[in-house]
């Protein structure tokens, strides 16, 4: 028992302390968090806008009079549907490679490329989450807003989105956690994220167990921490209604 423990300790020192290899892990962690954070911001921004286009088109397509407005809305709606189909119909790794080698060829800033790709990817899923949230709000809320004199955008901003957001928070949290883990494929474009950091150590020390288990543990702890944080936020939002 004591022998096994000593061996583990030795392996730990060899993998992380020697040559300051722990820096691969901490720097990688920072990159993972950065990419996740920016991708989430971009994803929510895209999600809100595209969800508004989709749901406003569905709500008003029968009532709209022919003209510029209707043509614009139909065009935007078709564009939104194309976006959703393409993004949800292709693997994120392929999108990442296309983003790096085809679209953003001129930049070497891999954090930027990864954030964009994951943001655009996640935006498609967040769109559907937020659209569900918008549709779950009683139409009377929308009518009340419009009857006071708010236009469509103002009604969305002040009345519908705040309520929808509260309803979709659990799903958004799931998406965030999925995103955090999905960014592990960033290594494909040479980005030194948490997973790649652990893998580099494995390559240097030729021991797989210690670095990979450490990486897995860090992901797990992050997910547990964020789940706890979101649960707290959720309870707080709910209590404001009581």
């Amino acid at each position: 028992m004591a022998e096994a423990f000593a061996k583990l300790k030795e392996s730990f020192i060899f993998n992380f302390i020697e040559g300051a290899r722990w820096k691969y892990i901490t720097n990688g962690l920072l990159v993972t968090l950065k990419v996740t954070f920016f991708a989430l911001l971009l994803g929510i921004a895209i999600g809100v806008v595209v969800a508004m286009i989709r749901s406003s088109y569905d709500q008003t397509k029968d009532e709209m009079q022919p003209g510029f407005g209707k043509t614009l809305m139909t065009g935007l709606n078709n564009l939104a549907r194309l976006y959703l189909t393409v993004i949800r119909g292709t693997p994120v790794v392929v999108q990442l490679l296309i983003g790096y080698f085809v679209i953003f060829v001129s930049t070497t800033n891999t954090v930027f490329v990864a954030s964009m790709v994951f943001g655009i990817n996640s935006g498609a899923y967040i769109t559907e989450i937020i659209r569900g949230g918008i549709m779950s709000i009683d139409p009377g809320q929308f009518e009340a807003g419009r009857s006071i004199g708010f236009n469509y955008i103002q009604t969305m901003r002040h009345i519908i989105i705040p309520q929808a957001f509260k309803n979709v928070l659990p799903s958004l949290a799931n998406e965030f956690i999925a995103l955090l883990k999905e960014t592990a494929v960033c290594g494909y474009i040479g980005l030194m994220d948490l997973t790649k950091g652990g893998d580099v150590i494995r390559g240097r020390t030729f021991s797989a167990f210690m670095p990979l288990i450490a990486v897995a543990l860090i992901y797990l702890l992050l997910v547990i921490f964020f789940s706890w944080l979101i649960g707290k936020l959720e309870r707080r939002l709910r209590s404001s209604e009581r």
């Binding site: 009532e63 009079q65 009683d138 009377g140 809320q141 009518e143 009340a144 419009r146 009857s147 006071i148 004199g149 708010f150 236009n151 103002q154 002040h158 009345i159 705040p162 309520q163 509260k166 404001s240 209604e241 009581r242």
Partner: protein, 247 residues
């Protein structure tokens, strides 16, 4: 009649499902300033659709609505500007559940009328005082009774200082013992000269408060007149049979 006409409705039509359902079949009526117009009729008669066409929550498929001299059914009219001057009260209150009562009341005035928060608060508190709910300003809608919610909804519409108030079956979703408190507020409003269009099943209210009663059935106005004419001397058979069921 020399009274000022505030809303003039002409040949209003509303068809749903590409003409399959005719909710309104040519309704024409002039509503005068300070008039209390009560619309009665069986369910499915088109009375709610008529009301909702007045502020274009329902877009009419034919005819026109002229509000204070402007045809608001014309294309390129910014309906949002006119809705500010037409308060609306719904059957299901439709208060904003994520805001306090005070915020519900001041959202429109601060965002649309560009009042300062303090100014809007002051006006809202005055009106809350009048409906006896000034102590609930910081409550959330879920903490209120149905009657309280509807009184707040009325105040929310009043905070925009509208020229006309539209009521869509304001007491139909209330427990019987709460109907009175809401009707009292509406009577109060009628007394101070607010122009009101009220769709309701409260015949007592119609008889007591209305200046004119419209009886609608199958998308048309079947009969109209003073409460005495409508309730005591109904002419048409349809009105007689309707009254025999509800009175």
């Amino acid at each position: 009649m020399s009274a000022e006409i505030i809303i003039s409705v002409k040949d209003l039509e509303k068809h749903f499902n590409a003409g399959a359902v005719h909710a309104l079949n040519g309704v024409s009526v002039d509503i005068e300033k300070s008039e209390v117009l009560v619309v009665i009729g069986p369910s499915g008669s088109g009375k709610s659709t008529f009301l909702r066409c007045l502020n274009l929550l329902e877009r009419p498929t034919g005819g026109s609505v002229v509000f204070e001299g402007t045809d608001i059914t014309a294309p390129r009219v910014n309906i949002n500007l006119y809705r500010r001057r037409m308060g609306m009260v719904f059957q299901h209150f439709n208060l904003f559940p994520h805001m306090t009562v005070l915020k519900n009341l001041t959202l429109g005035p601060t965002e649309l009328l560009k009042k300062s928060q303090a100014e809007a608060d002051k006006k809202a508190m005055q009106l809350l005082e009048r409906v006896g709910l000034s102590d609930r300003a910081d409550a959330y809608p879920s903490q209120l009774s149905g009657g309280q919610k509807q009184r707040i909804a009325i105040v929310r519409a009043l905070c925009m200082e509208p020229d006309v108030m539209l009521f869509d079956e304001p007491t139909s979703a209330l427990d019987p013992e709460m109907v009175g408190e809401v009707l009292d507020v509406m009577k109060e409003l009628a007394k101070v000269g607010m122009t009101m269009v009220v769709v309701t099943h409260e015949m007592g209210f119609a008889r007591e408060v209305a200046d004119r009663v419209l009886f609608m059935d199958e998308g048309v106005i079947v009969e109209q007149g003073t409460p005495e004419e409508i309730f005591d001397h109904p002419q048409s058979e349809r009105l007689q049979s309707f009254l025999s069921k509800v009175l």
